[in-house]
């Protein structure tokens, strides 16, 4: 499945991993003593490569149709490289690495690089496309109905779900049967016969489209009003749900002064390449800008813009506190219970274990929502049980304590399980030896059990920290970042960097993809540094104890 999807960039990289040489004598021996080809192995190879070829051909047709020649070249090169790799006898390690690597490149490395490149732009709402796109948008959104505008019978249709799919206009030229289909990209004629035109000139059905009925259309009247179809002389807009008019654009772009002029008011907005927008002399900006490279300004904003840097520092500190609190809390609780149940005289441990790990086996997204409702002020279980009426998610510290408690519940069974396993792996002679030497139980725990446990579990603790540092669900499905300070609705007291980023990119206000991407990179840097340092320390520990 991977071949058709490898996006630009993978072609260069994927085969690049291919030319690996079998260096050490160990593997070169494997390579020399070729085993005879078995029938089963041959059959598997033929079937799998046939599948690859089939998928490549299937994927090639839409690429040819859409004239995406670069994509096609990438697809063909990747397929050819796969055939070369698996038909030959060399490059044995690559045969095992390539399948996963292809997916990794297509769906992780490429998106991550894409994200990194957006961090240096102002990409977001109002700055989505090129300058030309912005000019088209400005001109067509300024379209007004003028006397003598042509009127068309209109049907609204979609290729997808009537409630959510992207809308198109189906219009009929008055007096004829010529049907055209229009979307934000422009107007193009539909094949004659592909559409059925009703008596009033309205299209009632069209091949490949679902025509919205009146109820469906009125449910999406806002989308219909917002849809502007650019045409040669201006643009096409709806007036009501069943008529469209072709109006004249009031604002026009003048290449000579690189500015936009309004023919009604005479005002001009000049292009500013630094910020990617048309700016008037009085500082007014047009909403439709374009994407430009803004260098490091997304990163410096975090430090210099006071409205961002203050709350950001708070979020950063809380983010660390949350990750350390969740990881440490679950580890301590899990280890305590594991220690308690780890005794040869203890009976019923299997039963205990079965019940203790139930929270881990439950679907965590659902249990997070259950916990959210258990903390509900009016009907929640916690308030009911203790006769309280605390607004748990309304105050900073109670909300923070609540989310950590929830993480404790969700996470400690895992720590219990791994601590149990690690305890079983510690030879009993070691603890017995300490008690023979007269150490107390606490001394033997401090000197023998705990260090060995830490050596065994620190990789897991580090990855648990990294996971909790970006534990989106833990916050988004419970508090959603609340409580928010009155003056800053975009950064709440329980917000982690990741939920803050998500709000910047997909929240209610204008999306700031560029800024969100910059914070993503920031998160990545923090987690990478913390992990690298602790992995290094772990290795030193292992050398000391093992």
């Amino acid at each position: 499945m991977s071949t058709p999807l490898s996006s630009p960039g993978s072609a260069q990289q994927a085969p690049g991993r291919g030319p690996v040489r079998t260096g050490s004598p160990r593997t070169s021996r494997t390579a020399r003593n070729h085993a005879p080809i078995t029938a089963a192995g041959l059959a598997a190879k033929v079937i799998l490569l046939g599948l690859v070829a089939g998928i490549a051909i299937w994927a090639a047709f839409p690429l040819v149709e859409a004239e995406k020649w670069v994509g096609l070249a990438v697809l063909m090169l990747t397929t050819a490289a796969l055939f070369y790799l698996y038909l030959g006898r060399r490059h044995v390690p690559a045969k095992y690495l390539i399948p996963g690597t292809l997916f990794l490149i297509a769906f992780q490395v490429v998106p991550v690089l894409y994200t990194a490149s957006t961090a240096f732009t102002n990409f977001g709402d109002g700055h989505r496309g090129s300058k030309d796109d912005a000019i088209v948008a400005i001109q067509s959104s300024s379209v007004k109905q003028v006397p003598g505008s042509t009127q068309y019978p209109l049907s609204v249709a979609t290729k997808g779900d009537p409630a959510t799919g992207a809308l198109v206009f189906l219009i009929t030229k008055p007096g004829t049967d010529t049907v055209s289909v229009g979307d934000a990209g422009g107007l193009r004629p539909l094949d004659p016969g592909a559409a059925t035109v009703g008596p009033g000139g309205k299209v009632t059905a069209a091949d490949g489209y679902t025509v919205l009925n009146f109820g469906q259309a009125s449910a999406r009247s806002k989308d219909i009003t917002d849809l502007v179809v650019p045409t040669a002389g201006g643009a096409l807009r709806s007036s009501g749900l069943s008529r469209a008019y072709e109006g004249k654009a009031v604002r026009a772009y003048d290449a000579g002064c690189d500015c936009v002029k309004d023919s009604d008011s005479g005002k001009t907005w000049t292009a500013d390449g630094e910020v990617g927008a048309f700016v008037a002399a009085d500082g007014e900006r047009l909403a439709q800008g374009w994407k430009v490279n803004v260098g490091l300004s997304n990163f410096t904003r975090v430090l210099t813009d006071e409205r961002i840097s203050g709350p950001f520092l708070g979020t950063l500190i809380w983010n660390f506190a949350f990750a350390i609190g969740s990881t440490g809390g679950t580890f301590i609780l899990g280890m305590l219970i594991a220690l308690a149940l780890h005794s040869p005289r203890m009976r019923g441990t299997n039963l205990y274990r079965m019940l203790l790990i139930l929270p881990y086996a439950m679907p965590s997204f659902a249990m997070l929502l259950v916990w959210r409702d258990m903390f509900n002020t009016d009907f929640g279980l916690i308030n009911n049980l203790f006769g309280l009426s605390v607004d748990w998610f309304g105050q900073d510290w109670s909300a923070r304590a609540a989310v950590i408690l929830v993480q404790l519940w969700l996470g400690y069974p895992y720590m219990f399980l791994v601590a149990t396993g690690a305890l079983q792996a510690i030879p009993r002679e070691l603890t017995e030896a300490t008690s023979v030497d007269g150490a107390s139980r606490w001394q033997s725990f401090r000197a023998v059990t705990l260090p060995l446990l830490l050596v065994a579990l620190s990789p897991l603790l580090i990855s648990s920290f990294a996971f909790n540092f970006n534990n989106f669900n833990a916050i988004y499905l419970t508090t959603e970042g609340a409580p928010f300070p009155a003056d800053n609705p975009s950064n709440g007291a329980t917000d982690l960097l990741i939920t803050y980023t998500y709000r910047l990119a997909f929240g209610g206000q204008a999306a700031q993809f560029g800024f969100a991407a910059a914070i993503s990179l920031f998160i990545f840097a923090i987690v990478a540094v913390v992990s690298a340092v602790s992995f290094r320390r772990t290795r030193q520990q292992e050398e000391v104890y093992a």
Partner: protein, 309 residues
């Protein structure tokens, strides 16, 4: 509570001796040696169970609202919520979607990372160290940080190949496979490293190819651990919310996480709690069953990987 029987049995076994001579001192010693362990275990079990008891109670609550749900059902029990769950929502669809996506992703990701781990563990080649380190690095950049880019990329894919685009399980499955290698390869490599090299070397001497060594010798030996890793991948995928919510907007195409969160949105939050709880219990059935079934391997498997790092 079943728990108490465990403690009672242990107490009973010590009982006769304790009564015979010096009962008090014996009891004290019993508590210091074993009793406190049961106490800690019991407290842990209570902590683990009380939200679950609440969910069961909510699922059986005939009124089905959050406000009328107590920890222990007092207003009678009924299975109405389960009926409503299937009648009023697309729960069955969501359940199948989740099983398909999570099952497929778990199986494929375990297989892909086992392949890679075999190469990293048993072969020496140029770029091996760089490969391992970059996997570690990539693993730290969670895929969903790139959600904006993923959204834009899949917009193009949906135009070209609608069969693997938005609102299809296949698109989401492919996306999850992108993260497979980063998550599991290191863990698996640790498992493969624990197997003695003499095994595959002798097989090679006997004329086995590298594929035969992998499929006939290595894979069967690590099968329990593969099962555990697969189970963890399965659970993680079932719980994945962020990317699924961006990908799946059609009601029929949703997964459990996306669909069930929708139940508790807005004004429906109080009234839908009963059917939500019923859905939670049904969702838990496959994972809890597999979990209990694999428990033996989970304890030994997880930590043997952990110990070896």
């Amino acid at each position: 509570m079943t728990m108490l029987t465990g403690a009672a049995v242990t107490g009973g076994a010590n009982g006769p001796a304790a009564v015979n001579r010096n009962g008090g001192k014996r009891k004290k010693r019993w508590f210091a040696e074993v009793g406190w362990r049961h106490l800690v275990g019991l407290l842990g079990v209570l902590f683990s169970l009380f939200p679950l008891v609440f969910v069961v109670s909510a699922a059986l609550n005939p009124l089905g609202t959050l406000s009328s749900t107590e920890l222990v059902p007092t207003g009678g029990v009924s299975l109405e919520n389960f009926g409503n769950l299937f009648a009023r929502t697309e729960f069955a669809h969501w359940f199948l979607n989740s099983l398909l996506i999570a099952g497929g992703a778990a199986f494929a990701s375990v297989f892909l990372s086992a392949l890679a781990a075999y190469a990293f563990s048993r072969m020496r080649f140029q770029g091996r160290r760089v490969g391992l380190l970059s996997l570690l690095l990539i693993q730290m950049f969670p895929q969903f940080l790139a959600i904006v880019a993923i959204f834009l990329i899949f917009g193009t894919i949906t135009d070209l190949w609608p069969a693997i685009g938005f609102n299809t399980p296949w698109g989401l499955l492919l996306l999850y496979l992108g993260g497979a290698l980063g998550v599991n390869t290191w863990l698996m490599k640790g498992f493969f490293d624990t197997l003695p090299r003499e095994l595959d070397e002798s097989a090679t001497m006997d004329g086995a190819s590298h594929a035969q060594v992998f499929f006939r010798i290595m894979l069967p030996l690590v099968a329990p651990i593969l099962a555990v890793t697969g189970l963890l991948a399965f659970i993680n995928t079932i719980n994945e919310f962020l990317m699924a919510s961006v990908f799946l907007t059609d009601t029929d195409a949703k997964t459990l996480a996306v669909g069930m969160r929708g139940m508790l949105q807005g004004g429906e939050r109080n009234t839908n709690f009963g059917i939500f709880a019923a859905g939670t219990l049904l969702t838990a059935i496959p994972t809890v069953l597999v979990f209990q079934f694999l428990q033996r391997y989970i304890v030994s498997g997880l930590t043997s990987g952990a110990v070896k790092g």
